[in-house]
Every structure is written in structure tokens, then in C-alpha cells.
Symmetry: C2
Subunit: 318 residues, 2 copies
């Protein structure tokens, strides 16, 4: 049986990836690592999937070395990251280390221990920066102009991947994943944070309430995490070495529109007020991607429409 | 009097920068920081320059914060770096941290403590990667395709600089410095290492000897450190915020030719043998830069021709 290592195992993307394997009856011997214990109940998959969890700080290269030496993975889904743009503005150095340096530790160890292992390196649509409207939807050959410390870290990870592919022939496939959302996402992220606060209005029995937000005019391309993990599995098994693939819905939506949809779903009226503290020093106004490469080369198809995703998230958090 | 902070103060570039200020009678209140004590004798400049040294590991952001709060610099010449490409292949994560993360610590602290301070961020010609022969000499708008972990770290530092200039209006000027050489350079670097080994042949009384080398066919653009520090001072005082400037000689030379020149200077015959261990996993074959921007915008002119530099280096090491 193929062996699959998942880093960032306690995050919400990993839980959806495992759920996908389980539902599709894709059998793997799985080892998950994370700095925190998972809160998701992985026991529910034990009749079909063999899952082992190991607590590890990936900044500790010796620990990573020990785990990989013992497990000898065929595939690595590298999800571990500090993926908050806002956090990267506040703690740039820590954010940088927990993106670039853990990635460097991982590839160095793989090179030593299991050089034929395939790695999926997850990047971000933030790498593109402010793309002129006429260049939307964004294709993979768009020039990258990162606007935040987080975005720079992701571009760096991508450049490092290319260095290791070219210099050592390592087997790394890359993504630029656009904003993904879905049930179980941490409430510090924008959509679940809207939902939580709007549900709080509902729970308090009011029919109207106010929430503070950042800039609601920005446009993002949100893709359901369940579609994202399907793409990750496709890329792990069939992606082209050294190539980078957008994972996105192809649709842009303003944050204001999302607030409105959630308010409708919850059945309350929501007034928004901009808090300048939530507005970022520098931000991309409009991000919409093209998944043409992923669709045409690998046959990926998006299944979860945006309103379905919002409904599922509200239902999960209610 | 203007206050100038120099990081990487114990390195050979800093010693030449101070020598330049001294010779040109440019008066500054200088604070040097480094993880190691300087070995260069800075006492010789004390009749004119006020120099204070503070030992500091720039990974320790609190220490950096304390020093900048007390000193309140007007200018920062940021030389601290792990600038060996070879080392970055062996210790990628450590190399990365000692480039990107110390830079991030520095800019975060400057933003807090002395936001109007001008920073010179030193980058490298390695950022360009393999440039097609027809695009030589390399201009600043050349696409960057870094080929080593070190080169990626330098590109990242540059991207981070742009992020901080755009987001917070910070005053950062950038360089892409080509290989610089000169007296006092550490013998781990290529030219001084050739000189040391060729002088050893001479000292042993032989008229011929063998040295082991990496690939001697690669072409590099070597610029005298004394011309580099002159450019650094120009850029600190007159460079344009957010702009990047090549610092180079405009001439390409093979490493083989350098070996031959040193052998001539030392008066011995040298046979070279390639040791595959010294050949890098991936390398740029030919790097030659254009300093047109620095020359035309700021009036920089190179003074030290290559043969003069080699003569001075051999004399210093003999």
C-alpha cells in the first residue's frame, strides 16, 4: 500500500483530504504530523484507512528526519503553514520561518531519506499580488508581485521547489491555491468569522445587528475545500513534476456579497461598519483565477457551488 | 552628525566601507553590530570617526530593538548575511534564516523605532540565475530565476523590501551586488582560496604545483570591494527609494583566467584538477552585469581594474 505523509495534519484541509480518501475508497497508509494534536475525530475512518499521528514541530529538522526515516513515504502532502496574511503583517519573521524554513527542512530531509518521494507543495493565489483587471482570470504564467510577507514566503517556497527540482531532480508538484472555505475552517479566517458573528446576532434573538469588518469591496475567488482536496489528490498522483497549478473556482465575489448571503441564510439583517484596524497595509483588490490548466491537463472539475458551501458552513456552525 | 548603523560589521565589506569614509573624510557617528567581534583594527580611524561596536545576533529581535532604540540611526547599511552559495546548499534552512529572517527583524524594528531611517538592502547577482548570452550584460529589469537556496533568499529579501516600501512607505534602497573581491576577504571565497593555495606552492619553494577546483569555465563579473563600498555610500545618500541597482564591473572573466593571473603574479606554474565535490548542483554559467543605471543616475565610476585588485590581494596575503 502506498504511504502518504500529511503535514499540517491538524488543520481543516487535512481533515477534508482524509474524508475524501475515505469516501472515494482510496487506500493509503497515512502518517499525519502537526505541532498540535488533531481535534477532528479520525477514528471514524479506521475501518478503511490506517492513520498514525505524530506530534512534531517541523522547525526541528532532526524530528522530521526521524519520522521520515521510519515511515518512508511515497507521497507527501505538505499542508503545514502559517497561512494567515494578517498574522504575517504582525509577526513577519515567525510567519516566514513557519513557511519557508519548515519547507526547506522537509525537502532537505526527503532528499536524504526518500529522494523518490513525491511532494505536493501548496502555494497561494496571494503570490500574484495586484493583477490588472484585463489579465483576469489569472493564469499560471502571470507575473508574481507579492504584497504581503505571507505572499513573499509563498513565492519563496515556490522558487525553492524549482531549485530542488532542477538541482537534484526532486519530484515536487506545486499549487497556487485560491481562498478555500468549508465546514471546520478556523474562525479566524474571514468567511467563518462572518458566519460566527452573524449567527451570534441570530442566537441573541435580534433580527438585526452590526458587525465590524475590513474592506468589503475586495473581490476574491473562493473555492470549496472539498474541491481543493480532490485537486490535491489528483496532483499528487498525476501532476507534472516541477509544474504549478492554480486551484480556484474561476468566479470572483466581493466580501460584501458574502456577508449578504450569510445574513440571508441566517435570516437576519446585518449592518457592516469598517474598522480601519482590520484593513491591511497593502492588499490585492481583485483576485479571480483560471483553473484551465488543472481542468484540461488533469480533468479536475469543481463540484461545490458557492451557495452550497455557504449553506454547509452555516449549518455546521449553527 | 548623521548616525549610521552597519550590520555584519565584522565582515570584510564593512572594514572597507569604514576605510572609505575615513579616506574621504565623511563624518558619521557609527554603530557596528555583528555576531562576532571584529578582527579588523578599527582603532586606526578613531581620530576622525566615532565607532561603537555591539555584539548581537540579529535573529534575536529584542536585542536589535534595544540597539536601534538607543542609537536611533539615520542610515543602515545592512551587510549581515550568510553569503556563501556553497553553504546554502549544505545548510539551506540556516542560510535562509540568516538572510531573510534577520532582514525581517531589522525592517520590523526600524518601522517601530526609527521609521524614517534609510536602509540599504544588499542583494546579489546570484538572483538572476542563468541568463541567456544575448541578454548580457544583465540590466536590472532582467527576469530573476534563482538557482540556489542562497539566491532564493536574496530574491525574497528584495520582495520583502518592496512589500515594506509599498505598505509602510519605508525608505529602502536595494542593490544586486556582483561578486566582490579585495584584500581581507575570507579565504573560503573563491579568489582568496585560489591565492592562498597558490602562495602555499610558492612558499614551499616549488615552481609548480596542483590545486583542486570546481568548474573553472564559469564566467563571473568581479568588482573590487573598494568600488562596491563607494557605491554603497552613494546609494545610502542619493539612491532612489524602492529602486534596485546593479553593482558590477561590466566585465566577465573565467575562473581559469583568474588562476592564471594569480599564478603569474606569484611566479609559479599551477596545474588545476576538477574535484566533483566542489562543483555545485546547479550553477549559472555566465554572469556579467551592466552598471549603467548606477553610473548614469548617480555618477558612480569604477576605479579598480581587475589586475590591480589581484595584485593587491596577493600582496596582502603574501
Amino acid at each position: 500500500m502506498n504511504k502518504l505523509l500529511i503535514t499540517g495534519f491538524s488543520g481543516f484541509v487535512a481533515s477534508h483530504f482524509i474524508e475524501y480518501l475515505y469516501k472515494e475508497k482510496l487506500q493509503y497508509d497515512v502518517c499525519g504530523i502537526d505541532i498540535n494534536e488533531p481535534t477532528h475525530d479520525y477514528g471514524q475512518y479506521s475501518d478503511f484507512l490506517d492513520i498514525d499521528f505524530k506530534k512534531a514541530d517541523m522547525m526541528d529538522i532532526d524530528r522530521v528526519h526521524d519520522i521520515l526515516t521510519e515511515f518512508q513515504p511515497d507521497y507527501i502532502l505538505h499542508l503545514a503553514a502559517f497561512s494567515s496574511v494578517a498574522y504575517s503583517w504582525k509577526h513577519p519573521s515567525e510567519s516566514f520561518m513557519n513557511n519557508c524554513n519548515i519547507f526547506l527542512n522537509l525537502v532537505s530531509v526527503v532528499r536524504d531519506v526518500c529522494p523518490n518521494c513525491r511532494i505536493l507543495s501548496v502555494g497561494s493565489s496571494e503570490e500574484y499580488g495586484n493583477v490588472p483587471h484585463e489579465n483576469l482570470p489569472i493564469r499560471e504564467n502571470q507575473r508574481k508581485e507579492p504584497l504581503s510577507p505571507y505572499a513573499v514566503a509563498r513565492v519563496s517556497q515556490e522558487m525553492l521547489s524549482k531549485v530542488y527540482v532542477d538541482a537534484y531532480g526532486m519530484d515536487i508538484v506545486l499549487t497556487r491555491s485560491f481562498n478555500h472555505i468549508g465546514p471546520r475552517q478556523d474562525e479566524r479566517f474571514v468567511v467563518p468569522s462572518f458566519i460566527r458573528r452573524i449567527l451570534d446576532i441570530k442566537k441573541s434573538g435580534r433580527i438585526e445587528g452590526e458587525i465590524e469588518t475590513g474592506d468589503l469591496t475586495i473581490v476574491r475567488d473562493f473555492v470549496d475545500v472539498r474541491d481543493v482536496v480532490k485537486a490535491y489528490h489528483l496532483l499528487l498522483t498525476s501532476g507534472k513534476k516541477g509544474e504549478v497549478y492554480n486551484i480556484c473556482s474561476g468566479k470572483g465575489i466581493t466580501l460584501q456579497k458574502i456577508v449578504d448571503m450569510i445574513a440571508d441564510e441566517a435570516g437576519v439583517r446585518v449592518v457592516t461598519r469598517t474598522n480601519p484596524e482590520f484593513v491591511r497595509p497593502s492588499d490585492n483588490m481583485e483576485i479571480v483565477g483560471s483553473a484551465y490548466k488543472l481542468e484540461s491537463e488533469l480533468g479536475w472539475k469543481r463540484e461545490y457551488k458557492f451557495d452550497r458551501t455557504i449553506r454547509d458552513m452555516v449549518a455546521y456552525m449553527e
